[in-house]
Symmetry: C2
Subunit: 459 residues, 2 copies
């Protein structure tokens, strides 16, 4: 599975294509801008970590339709009113517009555009489904994993790593690959997913499963067989039958191995007991790895309790973002230019305001480099003397303009961003939402537009 | 993206491969049986619908490792103790064992084996990650969608369809494709996901987005442009500005169109108002389609309230199984045969009992063909005179032995299975869990094994 290849161009909701066909038949293809943003922060989230942009750029710059895909579309009754010319258009399709995005690893919030597409209407419309599914999922997982990373290192021990073990519970085989990528962005040290390791140069980790121990007639034989192969790199999984006995069995096999993993029971107590047994033998270099349905809350409790732990393995909870398994990402038309000029678009329902026009997000910092507030402004407003802008051009006239950055440097950006977060937002629960302001110009534009539309509605 | 191709063979947790390498180096490759089952029903689920077997069969019968993949593995320090012979083994790998599985669309419960792999230990081990992620996700979504299907048709109107619209919120682009497949298995009439339509011959559906309306300067122009192309097949999205005005605008454009979609507001009230307006014009054939963060609970309420609705669009809630976004599927060694004979394996922790040996699930029915209880027995026990067996051979000596069945016939199996469910299990909430019994022979075997292992532990 490659994340993007030709077949991906049908990874799209039908209505993107039937709308595109409708616009085509109407010969209506104005220059537009769509913005992708997250409507609300999900429960238990004080911030998000932007992720998925690389997959978006790859998709947008490679999107095309081959004959087989076009034949399938033509076979659908949904296109029975559509002329051959539209399918010729699809056959020659390549993205010709501009795409702007917040770099992966950046702290972001609700209502802030993560992606902007400026293009002819047909092109911008066709991208919607893929962009949303790529950004929603990876941003969700990167955000969850950043919380787990913060919890795991909350006592200042930055070398205490968290590994992603969630492929078996991710939403299908491919979701596991992207979850590994996103959790690495969020601060994890690596993954068990081998394909993610290969595709994204993420360190891969693993120990053994209970089945290794159960494949032999007793635990000590299983440990011996394991050690004979993996020697001082061996990590013994000690909880198959009884954790304390497991540790003692490991010590019967060798005093020179890498670590033990405990995957069940009261992990705080088991880890303390394990550390005591190991330290009594002078084996303070042997690592303790803990796993078993962990999340940021359990890890936070462990760290508060002074649990001796060198690394965590986290699976289901990060790969599914278990307590908040969806992000409300939306893709909204904000601007349209036809022969009469530029028209702004917005939504005014009392519960669902969205602002018009292509925007920029400006981040203001305190003197000590801690984030103070964000300001959402129209793109042509300039606050560069006081603030940093988050949105950057990624694709211009269909061509990628920024070099692909390594996942390691994206993770470094995350860590730098997290170091600038106000302390209250680092807490697992927070009563102090971050301040996101809207520029006066943007507010005025929204009001003008609201009046115009009310006039239309009351015609 | 194809669901299985060569690259997929690295869609695996590293430890499956390092354990396989360890077994290989030890020249230890006994014939084993692993079983995949769901440990507990998730919250709010009275039953599950088995799904994902087709992807499993496809994966297992095509699994191989190419040179590029092997080079990557060799480059990992995790394999530094492993001989070239193991990589030659991988290079020549193909699955030679047997695989048994419950057909997709079957009602299943916790602790019942959904997949069994009988093979040399190395082969069985390598399959674990992919099998779990394929079965966990699709079974989860099929189960959720079956609940939604039951709610949507609870007044007996079987023709009221539910469409899957969740790709944008699924866990990555490929999860949307599998979610479409699984929700079709669960009883949905189709999906918006075009690739799923093409790959699995699922009917594809779509209307228009709010962006269509907003791309024109007013709603009535947008509706005219839509109708000019799609004529009597047009479904107008009427809630962009004001739902009632939207319906009246649609009626100004034509009295002969397919339907309207309402995506926001109080859907029960809006649908009743819409039906009244349409019926007053004698337009009782015009359909009402409702969408907007729907789930089985909201749909159930709508049906109870007599909401006039012809079809539902359900997205996020089904594609992410929002209220239960993971299944606790596990893959456990239950049997191992070496030169000394057959050894059974099981887990006895007070909270995590798993039974030994390869099993069969027998389903007992009442006289009126309603499910009465299931019996989990050892595979060589026979209850065929009183009950139906659920697990069938799918792969024998590496070769597929059952023809691929169409997704339509899998959906028919689901519907037939749902019609045999006890009424209490059809309720969205249930206090009467289904009775799952364990055969005496199996209980005796577990006890014997428990005594043996206690003897080992207390050696």
């Amino acid at each position: 599975m490659e994340i993007t290849n030709a077949t991906d161009s049908l990874l799209v909701d039908l209505y993107e294509l039937t709308m595109a066909a409708g616009y085509f038949e109407q010969n209506y293809n104005p220059w537009v801008c769509f913005e992708l943003f997250i409507r609300d922060l999900p429960p238990n989230r004080n911030f998000l970590i932007a992720a998925g942009l690389e997959q978006v750029i790859n998709y947008v710059t490679h999107l095309s339709f081959n004959q087989d895909q076009i034949e399938y579309l033509r076979s659908l009754s949904n296109f029975k009113y559509i002329s051959d010319d539209f399918f010729r258009y699809l056959h020659n399709f390549s993205f010709s517009g501009n795409l702007y995005g917040v770099p992966e690893g950046t702290v972001v919030f609700n209502d802030e555009p993560l992606i902007q597409v400026e293009a002819p209407l047909l092109e911008a419309q066709i991208l919607e489904t893929y962009l949303l599914s790529a950004i929603n999922f990876q941003t969700m997982v990167a955000s969850k994993s950043a919380r787990i990373y913060l919890a795991a290192t909350s006592d200042g021990k930055k070398q205490r790593g968290v590994m992603e073990f969630g492929s078996r519970r991710a939403h299908g085989p491919q979701a596991g690959v992207l979850a590994a990528r996103a959790s690495y962005i969020g601060g994890f040290i690596g993954t068990s997913n081998v394909l993610a390791g290969k595709l994204y140069q993420i360190p891969v980790y693993g120990t053994t499963a209970h089945s290794w121990t159960m494949a032999f007639n007793d635990e000590i034989t299983a440990f011996q067989r394991n050690y004979e192969i993996y020697k001082e790199d061996t990590i013994f999984l000690v909880d198959t039958y009884d954790t304390e006995t497991g540790i003692l069995n490991a010590l019967k096999v060798s005093l020179d191995f890498k670590g033990i993993r405990i995957d069940s029971g009261n992990l705080i107590e088991e880890a303390k007991k394990a550390r005591r047994i190991l330290d009594e033998q002078g084996l303070d270099k042997i690592m303790i790895l803990l796993s078993g349905d962990l999340n940021e809350y359990k890890i936070d409790e462990m760290i508060q309790e002074g649990t001796p732990v060198n690394a965590f393995g986290v699976g289901t909870q990060v790969a599914t973002s278990y307590d908040a398994p969806t992000l409300q990402g939306v893709y909204k038309l904000v601007e349209l230019t036809d022969e009469k000029g530029t028209h702004y678009r917005a939504k005014f329902s009392p519960d669902k305001i969205s602002y018009p026009g292509r925007k920029q997000v400006w981040r203001f910092f305190d003197k000590n480099s801690i984030m103070n507030h964000d300001l959402i402004a129209l793109n042509d407003e300039d606050f560069s003397s006081e603030a940093e802008s988050l949105i950057q051009c990624q694709i211009e006239n269909g061509q990628r303009v920024q070099k692909q950055v390594s996942l390691v440097s994206i993770q470094q950006r995350t860590k730098k961003n997290l170091s600038m977060l106000p302390e209250s937002l680092k807490h697992l629960r927070s009563d102090h939402p971050y301040s996101i302001k809207v520029s006066k110009t943007l507010k005025t534009l929204l009001n003008q537009l609201q009046n115009q539309v009310q006039n239309i509605t009351h015609d």
